[in-house]
């Protein structure tokens, strides 16, 4: 397991997953300068949505058949919750003190956790998530699990679709304009409220896809899974430069790889034996965040605030 290519693969898969979630933080922040701290719960809802779809299907349905339906229901649930959060929790507070949406997010997170718990009374214990059948692919230099393959397909597809959407479509251009100068965007005839809803919706959809990926990877979903995943993805977004969608993905990949490397190799460093292994991984992630905030607060791809008109 200490084989470098395998560790890298592992880190990249984890990182792509963080990156997908981080898109939600970064898009919303880029447009309304709001950190949606309930985004982790939206991710969790996506996971439970997907699980629900699977449970609806007859026993023994293969994943190839079930996967589209799971993705669909996960995305629909997470998107609806994200859009609802914007409409009913954040929009009424827009223009008010900066702290109010933060407090709302905490309340919203708890409410969403409890809501899932109400639907799945044993969600606390972790619900088993369906698994791919069949073994890993041996590519010679590296072995690739089916779960990781799923992420390696899903993340680039999402990223490329988003990049094309933002750069090439009329609505995408409106989105960029709104993020650069919302008042002036209104003067162009852009309904900025709709753009904000769209940012929440895309973030929710990507988070749901990430939740399915994590379900495959860990074999379970549980109602508190959004907390750590959300924190990591937020770290990734800040790492990459919050507000920048490419930064979110790159921040995710850097974080994932750093985490995988630390788990695999820190314990091999003389004198650091007790810090090796998985139990310290969150610590390494947050040390990385603190270092970035100290050395390059705008993030890897972020512009200095002075550059933002």
């Amino acid at each position: 397991m200490h084989d470098l290519p395998d560790q890298l693969t592992n880190g990249l898969a984890l990182g792509a997953l963080y990156g997908l979630i981080a898109i939600g933080y970064t898009m919303v922040y880029g447009i309304v300068q709001l950190i949606n701290f309930a985004h982790g719960e939206i991710f969790m809802i996506g996971g439970f949505g997907a699980l629900t779809a699977y449970l609806w299907l007859p026993d023994g349905t293969g994943l190839t058949l079930a996967l589209p339906l799971m993705l669909l229901l996960g995305v629909v649930c997470a998107t609806l919750v994200a859009v609802g959060a914007e409409r009913f929790a954040y929009r009424p507070l827009r223009g008010g003190p900066r702290l109010s949406p933060l407090i709302t997010a905490i309340g919203l997170s708890l409410a969403l956790q409890q809501a899932v718990w109400a639907f799945y009374p044993d969600a606390k214990k972790a619900r088993p998530f369906p698994q791919f059948q069949g073994g890993d692919f041996d590519l010679g230099f590296v072995t690739l699990s089916r779960e990781d393959l799923f992420i390696f397909i899903a993340a680039p597809v999402c990223m490329i679709a988003l990049a094309l959407f933002v750069a090439k479509t009329r609505t995408g251009r409106a989105m960029q304009a709104t993020s650069q100068d919302p008042d002036t965007a209104k003067l162009m005839g852009i309904n900025t409220d709709r753009i904000i809803v769209l940012a929440f919706a895309i973030g929710g959809a990507f988070a749901a896809i990430a939740a399915v990926a994590q379900g495959f990877k860990t074999g379970e979903v549980q109602f508190r899974m959004g907390f750590i995943a959300g924190l990591k993805a937020f770290t990734a977004a800040v790492l990459g430069g919050i507000g920048n969608i490419y930064g979110a993905m790159i921040g995710g990949l850097v974080l994932g790889v750093a985490e995988a490397m630390a788990i695999a190799y820190v314990g091999d460093i003389p004198g650091m034996e007790q810090f090796g292994g998985g139990s310290w991984k969150d610590v390494w992630a947050f040390i990385l965040l603190i270092l970035v905030l100290l050395l390059r607060p705008q993030g890897l791809l972020g512009e200095r605030l002075a550059d933002r008109a």
Binding site: R170, R173, A174, Q176, A177, Q180, D181, D183, T184, A185, K186, L187, M188, G189, I190, N191, T192, A309
Partner: protein, 237 residues
């Protein structure tokens, strides 16, 4: 019935009333200017006309329709374009993308292409730099872009907020002669300016704003020869 009619408009930021009951009109085809010192309430007035600020009181009628309560993003579709103070171009979008956003709501693509060519003819420098990020333009070029962007909606009324602000004398000349050119072409313009001399010489009508009120109104020529205006705004004793 004038194209734009403002009656008893009052606008406040919290408890501070920035516009304290002003009335004026703009007839189709004319250039009307609002001049006045810093903080008089000129920008506040334009932002309220565009729907970015909600009036405390008063009525705004444009092209036969009441604008009160209409959200900002719907007002441009009614034919009111606004080139804001400080230019406010989208810095990380290209010049061409900025211009395209000016025509965001238009469906008549062929006519939009025609208008784009017209803007490029008006400001050839924009045509040369069309693929460049707008944030890299000089102040004067950004002003041209802001004006061009506003023109791209093919407005019935073009509102310009201090187009000459911070520009070199040569650039200011260029912008002012463009405004004259637009006027000659029949564009209706509401021009806010600190450069009273230039604005009044172009304007059919002018209004002097002082701390939220209109203190004096007249034709451009009248105001230019008015004793108090000459003292306060044209730098004469």
């Amino acid at each position: 019935m004038p194209l734009l009619e403002v009656e008893g408009l009052r606008v406040a930021y919290g408890k501070i009333e920035a516009v304290k009951g002003i009335s004026f009109g703009v007839e189709a085809g004319e250039v009307v200017t609002l001049i006045g010192t810093n903080g008089a309430g000129k920008t506040t007035t334009l932002r309220t006309l565009s729907g970015l600020l909600k009036p405390l009181a008063g009525k705004i009628t444009f092209d036969g329709q009441v604008l009160n309560g209409v959200p900002a993003h719907k007002i441009v579709a009614m034919g009111l374009a606004h080139s804001p103070e400080g230019r406010r171009i989208f810095p990380r979008l290209s010049i061409e993308e900025n211009l395209a956003l000016g025509a965001f709501l238009r469906k008549d693509t062929a006519a939009v292409d025609g208008d784009l060519q017209r803007v490029y003819e008006l400001f050839p420098i924009l045509s040369e730099r069309r693929a460049q990020a707008a944030g890299t333009l000089s102040g004067g070029e950004q002003q041209m872009l802001a004006m061009g962007r506003a023109l791209m909606s093919r407005p019935k009324l073009l509102m310009l907020d201090e187009p000459s602000m911070g520009l070199s004398p040569i650039m200011m000349q260029k912008i002012m002669s463009t405004i004259a050119e637009l006027k000659a072409g029949g564009t209706t313009i509401l021009l806010v300016e600190q450069n009273a001399q230039a604005a009044l010489s172009l304007a059919d009508h002018g209004h002097v704003m002082e701390i939220g009120r209109i203190s004096l109104s007249g034709t451009g020529q009248e105001l230019m020869h008015d004793e108090s205006v000459r003292k306060a705004y044209l730098g004469e004793d």
